[in-house]
Subunit: 499 residues, 4 copies
């Protein structure tokens, strides 16, 4: 029944620029990178209420953001400008109740799930952003990160704009609103806005009579189109389509604006780049996306199986059993097993009730948070040489404990294989990466890392293999190489990343 | 843990103007007009945290708004631009918990309590409005109603503004922000904004290093300055000063901008009008303000005693007992008793637990909502001729039931006296008035009203007496006379009020 | 969604007796004694659902207990033994929601509001007590305090009983259950139980087809019968009847068992004592009961007016104004004014939003909790000699502050009058009294008390006047005199009260 | 902040017996049997607080009950009889908050997780049961089902007992309390109670200075002892020991009473039966227990691998891939793969956020609840002949949909194998089984079942194999054979099960 607003420090840099301060969360979490968002939009031409379908869609996208979520709907047959929205902090099934849907009538709508760094984890920042502007109302849901948001905010502010959130959607909304004064259609205004903003964005916009999807020219983040009966869907991943029983139509192209009205799908590809300049986030394939999704025609599951196979080719070792660190290491483990012929098995039992809200009583410090989540199947590993596959090592805070647990349970050897290259550089395009000095691979050799985690051997996926995972689709591998498809912002406050 | 946004219809009128749609609440409530807000700002030069003092201040102003409330604070010694705010739907002691204050560190802050009509009763609209603009952050708390807000929104929208709330504070904030690009100080920007906005407003603004109070040139709504040790307070009513143990310094003048910094109080009176053009809301004296407050040097309690005395002079009647309808009729009843010599007494017991959240189970319809709140003291009224005083009759929905209850309890006669004139016209300046056809006095003679409520006689305060209640301070009595100090908006959607 | 059970120390005393440990609450509360409970039972022969009517009834009884409340209903036409109950910590309008009533179907039911000392303030102890026994189900709601509960628990325990609460109702329930094995009817079993239990109790019992009311032979606590259409009500106070629109039928006699079935009201008076042995709690008339209630035919309001009149006769003083400390001092103040001819007035404004849940932020210690609740009407008291009436002084913790506030506001003299005698002894019959050394009147002369509170004079009601307040009805005045109608328990743990 | 009590129908049967009415839940749930409880007790001789350790233990046992949970602790060094308990509806991490533990001080305690059928799913029935009796306080946590509870309640009721819950623990508590009047120690009283009660129970009892564990003579439910530093633990499964970092000491023997005091572990085996009469619940090995637990020295994981191996031996089929229905079918699938040499793979992605509180908006009926939980990995199954392993088929409501999903995704053949025999008979010992006519195997041939679920072939584990799963430990396989180690209750209300 209440919410909190926090505006953090806005500093003027030496060069006179406003800089955003992303405070990094310090919670002890699993040693994983965080995806920042998932989006879902739908327009039902038969006039059925769509809020509950958005709910199911967001539920399928929950892995893309567990911090807040929201739904906004409108009735295209009702008076223009009435938008009903409901947002909250928490998981989809925590925020929405049956009552929510009683008040959410409308045949067009957008939804959003969100993760963010601590500084901006306030309720105001929950999406979709719902607003009133010259042409009525808009609702925006956005996945990605703009690299020129700080400068754009500054420019807008110099022109008298006020900001009530710290999310990029507000910047995009302003540009749409300013362009809309002059454009004939809202999709043209979106195009104008796209010419201003730089970075990663997959966007779903609801206007009173149109549903619009837009994807940045690099295609960092996925966005696809689906159809169920007479309803069209624009969403982050195909698994959301499967969940609601919709069929996949096609991916939104990098740089494309898709406009869905009663008259069908309209496409504007004027912002598209030559294919070779595209830069899909490779981490979507490696870890972020659900394995049952296909991104730009490429099965995520298949990419992970491949990663395991390449590991087996490039870092072979003699062993009795290949196991994955649940859940995200399982597919690559299977790939390793298939390639190497070493049997696949299960070494861990994961407590299925571990969730976002698990509290840690101060009373006791004896219980380890890794043990609470994972237990070893002694019977499965005792006396065996184990190959243990995980999708990535970020800080390395849990890998050593998992290796120890295997050894305590009687494993003779533990060989760790990682289905991505060492993680070395910041991401400017929507992934929450810890400061560089917290990265285990920073300034360390592989042998040093191996020693830290106590494994008998350690192998990473080779950077050269990354393109093979997507079958040649151009990717962004900046976090492994430091080479980005777009120049990072000059005054980046994230880092003393020497670049 | 969640909130709801609703944007209601924004229609373009025939004349091309945007019109705001204020849906009126349909809840069965007490037959009273609703004040729309209370504000409280404080700056402690000793650097003490002020959030809890704002809490106590808002608690003293709770009668000015029970729908939502909020507090925003900042630390003037800390980095510029960090504002902590917390808002919620409900009463002050429902929204804030001890935990709230753990995170609310700061020596400067503003708070707000709010009532609104149903359409805008969403969490987004809770105040203070906290925002980021060209010069850092602002927090605004506002009491009153602008009459040109719709037009100003329209103008801003044509210039690319986006609106995330439907409150007037957002319009004021935009004008401050736009002016601030060019002005040397924030108080100058406030002055610019005041030149644009028209209507009633008592405003408290917190900027990173200044606390600013502003009152519209007509002085519709009260605003006063207090001091406790080295802390200055700007708030709606003096009762908030008493509650926190502060002393009253002075009222903010109609039209004045007061700026509080480390260097003291600075005053800008360039917007002040000649005193005779001022137009204080007379209903503050009659009903809205707490009786222990003084507005512009005039005791509210004293005004109410006077109103009772005038009623006794102008509408005398023989009787055995004078009673007030609790609580707001008691002071005038005492005045009537003092003037007439007829003993004062108590006729009603009010259930002290009646609150905002009283639910009405559907199961039963036998129980009357008046009886749940009030019961008659049979012993006090049996066989007596009663003069019953209330401060106003709006719709008249409860007066008849209260008269009946007195008669059923054995009262021989019930003479109703009302300490304000018949209520006939809409208010454009911050009071929520029902549609004209719902007003009992509309198109009815006093005799007809008397008959409707079943009283043996009925007397209203004479309009001529109103100025006497404030000892000659110029007032707005538009709701009784239809003559307003400012022209109401042309495209007023409130009414088929033939004017 | 969760509850807490606490079983506090059960010690075997030197004499081999179990002793109950009533921990006294240490919250800073108003300086008032606490009533312990209110009960409400109803049986609707037309078969209407009664849960919502119980809700309204409990709402009218809220002043009798603000800590927890509960409702249990049954359908006399349905299968025997199905009881739906809902209980919770908090006020009636906090605990019950509209949803509650959807599941509460039944034409017979009981409800309860409760206050308790801290030790037993757990959810388990919320009433009504709902249980299954040899003859199906029972629901009990109880007001009062047994003086032999500890001994009875001990006896039952020696016989193999287990206790899941620390409330007396459980002891009564056991005795009903044990008797019921042998008796033909449940009311006979209640009679058997009444022969065992000693102390104060007003009891409402719901069995599958009967509603039973019972009052202890001394009549400590009130209990009355009402009727609305074809429904009978048994409840603590007549104000609950007024609130639901029922008419008063009669009081339940001290010692009487009243059984309501389809065949009408049956009365068993075999436990009644000679009238002169009855001992109504005089504090019900002075403070506990609502002024609009009548207890045993005597108006509570009238008793309070009388108390004021006697004060004026016995403790006269020259003054300009008589005021009451709101709300409970107002009736006696009016009586004093009527008797003395000194005008009655209002000196205080009470914040109408003060409730159970008012939090005190740790941040600030400047704000006084008395000021938060009460403010003085300076205009009313300035330069005047004030007679200030309160119903009682218990610890005296607030009287001095209120006197100071009046003096600071300009009162020339403050004469305090108290409409009850000095409070000196513990209560064993259902009132929560602080330890004797905390009572301001303990070991102090009136002059010493006057000095402590800073009044110019101080007068208490004479003990001899107490009987006159009830028109001669026999009363218990043990808390003023130390003489009790029943011997207190031998091993009373409450006190080093030298008796 | 509130709770609900419901007492359901207690009918006297023709033979004069009380019968308990277990209403069966109608929620659409996964097609799985429900375990009814998990228990956890601990006594720390070093005096450390144990509440948070119980919390972690219950978290590890969450799979044994998701409906309610509770913790009760006591301080053995403090005054006898003080027990702090906290219970609530929901998952362990929903019910307990950091605040909970601030008030839970004590070095001895018990905890409980619970699932129940709808009728008894009220808050009153949450465990541990905390009570006061002749010797102070007791807290009981119980897993299992008594078959003579109805008769025992009846007998107790005839003797004047009152029941405030409908859980078997209350019956056991009464028998302990009644025996305790005569016995020298609480463990003797437990022994007396064990002589009265019949059925399945694994019990942890906390008395002021002792922790007691007891297991019924048949050993239906698991119970084991662990140790961490100077603390002893008695709990349902060894996975709880691993989670808190304790070492396994030994299992409690069927029929054994274990008493833990400062002086060590004391054992009473007087109720033990000859080993061949023992009757461990085979479903603990097949599905209920966590795979990382060992029950009576036997690895649950190993039992499941074996079940898969036996299926491969007894029901071989040619195929390309063996997959498990997540999570519970995975171990048997691995066993099948190992035995048959057919590769193991993953065919399904399970939404990791599916939990107890997933709501189903009424708005939409298009979304299937199976699809929300599971999606098929098209890439993995396309064009393949699949062997799909699940641990059981109860109603068969989801098997057909899963088979369809595989086929829609392109599987050429789907061969279902079930790692338990067909489920045909009710369970009287603590498992919630649907009515017989709802069981898919009832009155159907295997071929008929196969056709219903649309698989290309279907094979069940042979009943003869069951004993092999436990390596010869005697088991109860009543649900498969109808032969029970104890006679079921005569007046069983569960069934028109013709036996």
């Amino acid at each position: 029944m209440s919410f909190r607003a926090v505006f953090y420090l806005v500093v003027i840099s030496k060069k006179g620029k406003l800089m955003k301060n992303n405070l990094h969360a310090q919670m002890e979490v699993s040693d994983k990178l965080k995806e920042e968002c998932g989006v879902f939009g739908i327009y039902d031409f038969d006039g059925n209420d769509v809020a509950s379908t958005i709910y199911y869609g967001l539920f399928a996208l929950q892995h893309r953001g567990q911090e807040s979520c929201g739904i906004a709907v409108s009735d295209t047959k009702g008076p223009k400008g009435v938008v009903q929205s409901y947002k909250g902090m928490g998981l989809v099934n925590e925020v929405f109740t049956e009552d929510t849907f009683d008040n959410m009538k409308g045949d067009i709508g957008v939804g959003h799930v969100r993760y963010s760094t601590a500084g901006a984890s306030s309720r105001e920042n929950a999406q979709p952003l719902v607003l009133n502007y010259i042409k009525g109302t808009l609702a925006l849901a956005h996945n990605g990160n703009l690299i020129n948001a700080v400068r754009l905010r500054e420019e807008l502010a110099y022109d008298g704009a006020i900001f009530q959130t710290t999310i990029d959607s507000e910047v995009i909304a302003y540009h749409i609103a300013r362009a809309r004064v002059k454009t004939a259609t809202v999709e043209e205004a979106v195009l104008h806005a796209m010419k201003k903003v730089e970075g990663a964005y997959s966007l779903v916009v609801m206007s009173p009579r149109k549903l619009i999807g837009a994807r940045d020219p690099y295609g960092f983040k996925p966005l696809c189109i689906g159809k169920r009966d007479n309803a069209y869907i624009i969403t982050s991943e195909t698994c959301a389509l499967d969940t609601i029983g919709a069929e996949f139509v096609r991916d939104v192209l990098p740089g494309e604006i898709v406009t869905i009205t009663k008259d069908g799908i309209k496409s504007d590809t004027s912002m598209c780049l030559p294919a070779e300049k595209e830069a899909r986030c490779i981490f979507e394939y490696i870890y972020f996306a659900r394995p049952d999704s296909r991104i730009d025609g490429r099965s995520v599951y298949h990419s992970r199986i491949l990663a395991g196979r390449y590991l087996a080719m490039d870092s072979p070792v003699e062993a009795d059993l290949v196991v994955g660190v649940p859940e995200s290491g399982n597919a690559a483990a299977l790939g390793y097993s298939l390639e190497s012929g070493i049997p696949y098995g299960t070494a861990f039992v994961k407590n299925g009730y571990v969730g976002r809200t698990f509290i840690k009583p101060k009373q006791s410090s004896r219980e380890s948070s890794v043990r609470v989540k994972l237990n070893v199947l002694k019977e499965a590993v005792e006396g065996k040489r184990i190959i243990m596959i995980d999708d990535s090592i970020v800080r390395g805070t849990t890998s050593d404990r998992i290796v120890s647990m295997l050894k305590e349970a009687g494993a003779k050897e533990v060989h760790m294989r990682v289905s991505s290259p060492p993680f070395l550089w910041p991401c400017y395009f929507g992934t929450d990466v810890p400061a560089r000095e917290q990265l285990i691979a920073y300034n360390r050799t592989i042998e040093e890392i191996r020693e830290m985690i106590g494994a008998d051997s350690l192998g990473y996926l080779k950077t050269e293999r990354l393109e093979q995972l997507t079958g040649g689709l151009p990717i962004c591998k900046g976090c492994f190489t430091g080479n980005y498809p777009l120049d990072p912002p000059e005054d980046d406050i994230r880092g003393d990343f020497e670049k």
